[in-house]
């Protein structure tokens, strides 16, 4: 799911909110509070969340590996 947020951020990272880009039903309950933010803001906030920090880092590594291939 976090990787998906990185991917939609590349399409539209600032001008649309997450709920415009990923259906609320596809965002797990724990992430629903982020749906009102643009994807890049959502990623930044998720990275500050201790429970999600490792998942965000893992997704970032995967995303960069694919982007810079």
């Amino acid at each position: 799911m976090v990787l998906k947020i990185f991917e939609v951020a590349e399409i539209e990272g600032e001008d649309y909110d997450l709920h415009n880009l990923i259906a609320d039903s596809k965002l797990c309950h724990e992430l629903s509070y982020l749906s009102k933010y643009p994807p890049r803001v959502a990623i930044a906030k998720l990275y500050l969340n201790r429970d999600w920090r490792e998942a965000v880092l893992k997704a970032a590594k995967m995303y960069l590996k694919a982007k810079l291939r």
Binding site: F6, A9, G13, E14, D15, Y16, D17, N20, K36, Y37, P38, R40, V41, I43, A44, K45, Y47, L48, V56, L57, A59, A60, K61, Y63, L64, K67, L68
Partner: protein, 263 residues
């Protein structure tokens, strides 16, 4: 050195900290700052905007109006409370819950910004404040970043202009010794757990792919998430951008007619 307006061929690079101080002498007065307008616009899904005056860079691709180059001639002073009231009024009128200061370097006039953010933070009508910065003052002053970290609604957007020192000077007019400051700002924002992301003017008509990769490498060295969350910007043909390019010796017609192919 005279006050730099816009870059010309063979310009003499300036220290952006010196230019920040000089600009503050013009655009800050006690806790007031110069603004030219308050309105809302469609970016960020709709955002109330205070169009403020004054910057410590002189990017030749900049879209800001002439108040950047001639801050003495534009804008009126607004106290933090007046700016806050105008921003909230614009938000209410346009039905948006986001706010920002734009078209300038918002971190100039620190007292003004901090007082404004104190009021924004307490106001339920605003849920997010986007603080767009070139990172110079946040790079040089950890305490400033620490102070900003106390505001829950603030999300900082650090805008990088280059991936190597020489290109940094050529694009911003600032001395190459200041190149590291925006990267230092990123370290400080991480240190104080501020919500932020980085943007970079990686438009392939301005930046080679090798410089872009160097920029991403530098970001990865700091933090992989920051690098992955990079917002890559393109340069648009605003009226002021076209004139600034022409004055700098970059043919705007040739530039904007180049096919835009992303790396």
């Amino acid at each position: 050195m005279s006050y730099p307006r816009m870059l010309t061929k063979g310009f003499k690079p300036f220290d952006p900290l010196w230019l920040a101080r000089k600009t503050e002498e013009i655009v800050c007065k006690d806790e007031s700052r110069k603004y030219t307008a308050f309105y809302a616009t469609g970016v960020y899904g709709g955002i109330a905007t205070g169009y403020a005056v004054g910057c410590c860079f002189r990017c030749f691709f900049c879209w800001s109006d002439w108040s950047r180059d001639f801050p003495e001639l534009y804008g009126e002073f607004y106290s933090a409370e007046e700016a806050y009231r105008n921003i909230v009024k614009a938000a209410k009128r346009w039905g948006v819950r986001r706010a920002r200061i734009s078209a300038c370097e918002p971190t100039l006039c620190r007292d003004h910004l901090v007082k404004l953010l104190e009021m924004i933070d307490k106001d339920d009508r605003i849920e997010l404040f986007i603080l767009e910065t070139n990172g110079v003052l946040f790079g040089v002053n950890k305490n400033y970043v620490k102070e900003i970290s106390s505001f829950k609604k603030v999300h900082v957007r650090v805008s990088l202009k280059a991936g190597i020192p020489e290109a940094f000077t050529a694009r911003t007019g600032a001395i190459k010794e200041a190149f590291h400051l925006p990267f230092e700002a990123i370290r400080n924002l991480l240190k104080y757990n501020v919500s932020f992301h980085v943007a970079a003017m990686t438009d392939p008509r301005l930046m080679t792919n090798s410089e872009r990769l160097e920029l991403i490498r530098r970001l990865r060295e700091i933090d992989e998430v920051v690098a992955a969350n990079l917002e890559e910007e393109i340069c648009d043909p605003y009226d002021t951008t076209i004139v600034r390019m022409q004055v700098y010796g970059v043919d705007p017609v040739k530039f904007f007619r180049k096919r835009l192919v992303w790396y």
